[in-house]
Symmetry: C2
Subunit: 340 residues, 2 copies
DNA sequence: ACTGTTTTGAGGCACGTTCCTCATTTGCGG
DNA sequence: CCGCAAATGAGGAACGTGCCTCAAAACAGT
């Protein structure tokens, strides 16, 4: 059996109340006594029973997730993973509210953040492009004492407690390395995204350029084409590039919008000679991998993302340390053969 | 606030005792009453507070991990991850004993398993090659009522409750796909391992052959070379192949022993023209990736492995269902640019 | 209506911790 | 040595659930 606070008290020769005061860093204990208790803790190898502690504390975490809305498979699966995580022990003693905002309206996010009542909430996870208004809204939430984490796309200049997601520069570098090795003959690479306003796309492009510049001189990377979340525009841009650029060897899709992209490439008849690399495993990209239409998908485990965000938010609420190793989101490379 | 058993009792118009009997599937309640309680549970959206339940139950999980011993970086990091996981909430209300057995002695595992006292233990995780003796030892543990999971290397014909690890056939298929795409010109591929006795090596070879046979006719895969955990032998075999086979384009290392392998290939002077793919991210393989000596490493997150084994063991002890999505160990592809 | 069985109610103790209150002791300055 | 504040002890209630006992009620078959 593990030692309890009672054992510590006995071992240190103090009362239970004093042990409690020391363990919870409450004032009113002499240095000497603190040391004595801590020694006893070390000697007996005491570790606080988190279950009992939470029970006694009656702690309840009121959390909110602000996600973009739209025909975005990735966000849909993220939301599903979130709800699934809530049904398990990860979300124990927590209530989670999911708020969605129109993807294309940068003010909508701000409005949604303002609409949150800080007194009825302990923490917020935000997935949104970084704008000055969003930064201000985050700052306001922090001032109100809320825990704030950025999700998927970082808000590096906002006072968020933490970013939960992959290192997008490294993700872009990984995409470049795969493109370069899958297309050793070299040629032109088309880079597309729905919007460069999001920090994640920006970072990915940055990483992609770093590696192609230093390691794959035979690749020439075209300027980023933005679709602004318009499928028709995405399809037109991709089709145009495929038809007019004979030296095209690869396409790197940094955002969503893989359905119109693949449709265009299929239509151009050049899909099987192109190395297509995209992000996020969805039904669309999964199918494309199986059909050999996409060479690789760079992905992040949405289940891990959801659980990690929940754990990190709770830790931030308690100003407790996080278990780093568990919260590092991996850049997953998914090929046809290691589809989960 | 979340509803409690008290709320359920009130809602269903029964006593607390009856609610408890229904929730814990104890006998002595009429069908009609059971239905009434379950309706109340559904209506109020009650979910059992796992923390309080475990506390009340006073459940304590006594677990043991049986791991191979030896100069194996992978096992070392696994053990470290295990100890780290024990220090966190994952191992809450559990004691974990780690037993190591000499890697090369198949009887040592059996002896270690026999030495376990089933009355002082609730569950065991085993990482060992599958032999008839191991199967019998596992069967004996199961008969004693222990939970048993196979770790990393499956024991498909033993009555283990579950396998925690990657799908090694798929891992082999992934390695083949990478080799084929990284070496489109084709040629010979050397496959090495420390021992084909382990189920994982066997499965990886199987998967590797499947994909090379169907998708990469230009690759000809050599018979598996075994080192029997002897670094000198590994080095000799690899050097010999590199020197005598001009058409060699790739090496697939299915087990441990990457240090002597890389040393041999370096010595042969052909390392930079070979596509080397190995398993498990260790200091050795990490360095080889950074130096561009290895093209890719197929890995499994040891932290995830450790935490998953703990969770699965606990669930098996309680005959509780596991949260599948969280326990699926991914086949990670690690390149230079997405090193964690 | 009688017995006997099954079902239900009521209550209490336990788990390990937190967080109170109130009384007591200790240390310190004067 | 006194007075005062700080430090400590003792005890208890609570958190939500599990698990136990004993008695009361409902129901079955005769």
């Amino acid at each position: 059996m593990r030692p309890t606070v009672h054992d510590i008290a006995k071992e240190a020769g103090v009362s239970l109340a004093t042990v409690d005061r020391v363990l919870n860093a409450r004032p009113g204990v002499r240095e000497k006594t603190i040391a004595r208790v801590q020694e006893a803790v070390a000697r007996l190898g005491y570790v606080r029973d988190a279950a009992a502690a939470n029970l006694a504390r009656g702690r309840f975490y009121r959390l909110a997730f602000v996600l973009p809305e739209g025909p975005n498979q990735f966000v849909e699966t993220l939301r599903a993973a979130l709800l699934e995580a809530c049904a398990t022990q990860v979300a124990d003693r927590a209530s989670v509210k999911v708020v969605t905002t129109p993807a294309q309206d940068p003010h909508a996010v701000v409005r949604a953040l303002r609409a949150l009542n800080p007194r009825r909430l302990d923490g917020v996870a935000i997935m949104a492009p970084e704008t000055p208004q969003v930064r201000d809204a985050v700052a306001r939430l922090k001032e109100e004492g809320l825990a704030v984490v950025a999700l998927v796309s970082d808000l590096p200049n906002a006072p968020r407690d933490r970013f939960v997601g992959i290192d997008n520069v490294a993700a872009g570098r990984t995409a470049a390395l795969l493109t370069g090795r899958f297309a050793p003959q070299g040629g032109e690479v088309l880079v597309v995204t729905n919007s460069l306003r999001s920090r994640d796309s920006l970072d990915r492009r940055l990483g992609f350029d770093q590696v192609t510049a230093t390691d794959f001189p035979k690749l020439s990377v075209l300027p980023t084409a933005e679709s602004y979340d318009d499928p028709a525009r995405m399809e037109a841009v991709a089709f145009e590039a495929a038809m007019s650029r004979p030296k095209l060897v690869g396409v790197y899709s940094m955002g969503s919008g893989n359905t119109p992209l693949l449709r265009a490439l299929r239509r151009s008849g050049r899909l099987d000679e192109l190395v297509v690399i995209g992000h996020e495993l969805t039904p669309v990209t999964r199918r494309a991998l199986i059909e050999n239409e996409m060479a690789a998908v760079i992905s992040q485990d949405v289940g891990h993302l959801a659980r990690s965000a929940l754990r990190v938010l709770r830790a931030a609420c308690d100003a407790a340390p996080v278990f780093e190793a568990q919260e590092r989101i991996r850049i997953e490379i998914v090929l046809r053969e290691n589809l989960p």
